[in-house]
């Protein structure tokens, strides 16, 4: 019977399996209660406590860039102005709502908690090693690295949006968009059903693909998202292209940003028309690989409204936005990039409630961060302090750049010092930079957490080949 039970365990309910795979949250309780207390205090003291200056106001920051692996260039706004912003925000002090936000000089968040921002460091299947996060770029300037702020405090935020999931709302979103999208693609509207994905804590539209396309949607506490993907199977008549009103959406792979945006102007207008939005600005981002002869991995074009700025913490536009992503699988598309997908992100919550400042936390100094870097107490990939410390002599004895970046999970955004070290330049000119993330705020349980990483590495018996030599 025991063997039978082991086999029968396989088919227990899906949600039980997924829930058990998640890292337990017991350690969250103290700070959750602290937040609840802070929230109560906010209500009581909002009018009494003076506003605390922010390190930056995302509303006024009109440069959209990706802090992970994407090189990006901002395109000048069309008529962006602070008065336009003011009229949208009204008298509310942007992301101010500082009144009542707790300010801490002591460590509040734990190293375990911060590890959740890096899935590979919180899930026990990912054994620690010397593997670092990497970014590939033509030059480091194109990464638009954010300088270290002079303000000794920075915000820790909840960026989940926190809108309750609403199946009917997602259905309306799908209904209102799938008809016009299907018509533009010249395919029948898909049959679909909506299911709850407990792992992602979102609703998903499971749609029946047509011969050439998938039209699907998801809903989380921040967005309704429509996804249109082209199928590149052998049977697909369009060969992976998105044919909008019979015309393929494509760009030249060697075009500069201005040329890409110009060539997609009509596509932007048509998509805005189909999705009933008015998004007048465009921005091009590219991701690279370091090994391919054609280093361009993908190009994503954002259609958005620059005048609303971007969210400082998530890096995403504050307006609803469309992304048009061209994949370049093996550089197979010749001169044209035409293997495309479209995503439409519709916010479910107003700007002012997309980010809740949980706490203003004093920053550790750059010197302290450098010390942590040398000790291997860093986040970012499958890193183990033992490996990093052993590799440190050749890897992070010095570094090429340091930036101030927010790392964001579904529910939390935390500031980091991010150290960049060039490790390679491929023949195609693409440079590889290793990235090491040092939390910019003091944490509890640092030694305990990183000791557990070393133990996991040793016990895990999985990454010995990667150990520093």
């Amino acid at each position: 019977m025991s063997k039978k039970i082991l086999y029968a365990m396989t088919n227990i309910d899906d949600d039980l399996i997924i829930a058990a795979a998640k890292k337990p949250h017991n350690w969250r309780r103290p700070w959750l209660s602290a937040i609840a207390t802070a929230a109560c205090l906010c209500i009581v003291f909002t009018s009494l406590i003076a506003a605390i200056p922010l390190d930056a106001s995302p509303i006024y920051d009109d440069t959209l860039y990706d802090v992970s692996t994407t090189a990006a260039v901002a395109i000048p706004n069309e008529g962006a102005s602070s008065s336009a912003v003011s009229s949208i925000i009204g008298s509310k002090p942007s992301y101010g709502f500082d009144a009542g936000v707790k300010v801490s000089d002591k460590a509040v968040y734990s190293a375990y908690e911060i590890a959740e921002l890096f899935p590979s460091m919180s899930f026990s299947s990912c054994y620690p090693s010397s593997n670092m996060a990497e970014v590939y770029t033509t030059d480091i300037e194109s990464l638009n690295l954010r300088p270290i702020p002079t303000d000794p405090y920075a915000n820790v935020c909840d960026v989940s949006g926190n809108a309750a999931l609403d199946k009917a709302e997602l259905n309306n979103f799908m209904v209102s968009n799938s008809a016009t999208v299907s018509a533009a693609l010249n395919v029948a509207e898909p049959n679909y059903k909506i299911s709850y994905n407990s792992y992602g804590q979102e609703y998903s539209v499971l749609s029946e693909p047509s011969d050439d396309y998938i039209i699907a949607a998801t809903q989380n506490s921040m967005y309704n998202t429509l996804f249109v993907g082209s199928l590149n199977s052998y049977g697909a008549a369009n060969g992976g292209k998105i044919m909008l009103d019979g015309n393929p959406i494509s760009v030249r792979r060697d075009a500069d940003d201005g040329a890409v945006i110009s060539s997609l102007q009509k596509v932007r207008e048509r998509l805005c028309d189909i999705l009933q939005v008015n998004l007048k600005d465009s921005l091009v981002t590219r991701t690279y690989t370091n090994a391919d002869s054609d280093a361009l991995q993908s190009m994503t074009v954002y259609f958005y409204n620059a005048e609303l700025g971007k969210n400082l913490y998530t890096g995403m536009p504050n307006s609803d936005y469309i992304t048009l992503t061209f994949n370049n699988d093996g550089g197979s598309g010749g001169e044209a990039l035409d293997q495309a997908s479209i995503s439409f992100y519709q916010y479910r919550v107003p700007i002012a409630t997309r980010c809740e400042i949980l706490r203003r936390q004093s920053l550790i100094s750059l010197e302290q961060a450098e010390q942590q870097l040398k000790s291997g107490l860093v986040y970012g990939c499958h890193v183990c302090p033992l490996c990093i410390a052993e590799n440190n002599g050749r890897l992070f004895n010095s570094y090429d750049a340091v930036a101030f970046e927010y790392v964001t999970s579904k529910s939390m955004s935390v500031p980091f010092y991010v150290f960049y070290k060039k490790t390679d330049v491929a023949e195609n000119g693409i440079a590889t930079f290793a990235k090491a993330y040092v939390p910019a705020i003091e944490l509890t349980d640092m030694n305990e957490y990183f000791e557990s990483r070393v133990n996991l590495h040793t016990v895990g018996n999985a990454a010995t080949n990667n150990m520093g030599k």
Partner: protein, 185 residues
């Protein structure tokens, strides 16, 4: 890529479905297989077989929870492969240890007459839902993911002895639950 999109690729017989699955769930599958087989090469073989099985089973299946579906396929194949590889020898693997542990509280295979595996799975799900969250997850970590006790203790920040006590109590509860449901254990 979104799970729905990956499933759609399988349904459309697009080979990139495998690559996307590997990219998103390769490590997850490897962990499941490795925990059972305790050998990287065998685990890799098992995971590759899992991709093939996914290809052959979607369609007709249209899983709502793709991650759980991938995990189940991998786990079943790993259990089968383990049985095949260790048919004639007694080992001290996690699999063998897990069976031993369950045997302490549940009778030997030969005495069982409960043959409907799916019904047994439903009973197990019902039983697990009666447990407090932490106790339930620890049991699943041990007997679904085959995590070892030390790893579970570290994950839940409790001692190994505590984990063993929780597991033993849960096995005892399971035994009584199955008996109360008319299962001859």
């Amino acid at each position: 890529m979104d799970d729905n999109a990956i499933v759609a690729l399988f349904l459309k017989r697009t080979e990139t479905a495998i690559a996307e699955t590997q990219k998103k769930y390769g490590k997850y599958c490897h962990r499941i297989a490795k925990n059972i087989l305790e050998n990287d090469d065998d685990a890799e073989e098992c995971v590759n077989d899992a991709y093939l099985k996914l290809w052959n089973s979607i369609p007709p299946n249209h899983p709502e929870n793709f991650q759980a579906f991938v995990g189940k396929v991998t786990r079943n194949l790993a259990l089968d492969l383990y049985t095949k590889l260790n048919a004639r020898k007694r080992t001290n693997s996690r699999y063998a240890t897990a069976i031993d542990e369950l045997s302490e509280c549940l009778a030997d295979d030969s005495s069982g007459d409960f043959t409907d595996d799916l019904a047994l799975s439903e009973l197990l799900s019902s039983f697990l839902r009666t447990l407090p969250e932490k106790q339930r997850n620890i049991f699943i970590r041990r007997y679904w993911y085959m995590d070892n006790v030390k790893s579970i203790a570290r994950t839940y920040d409790i001692t190994e002895a505590n984990v063993n006590v929780i597991l033993c109590r849960t096995r005892d509860l399971l035994k009584h639950y199955l008996e109360s449901e008319g299962v001859n254990v």
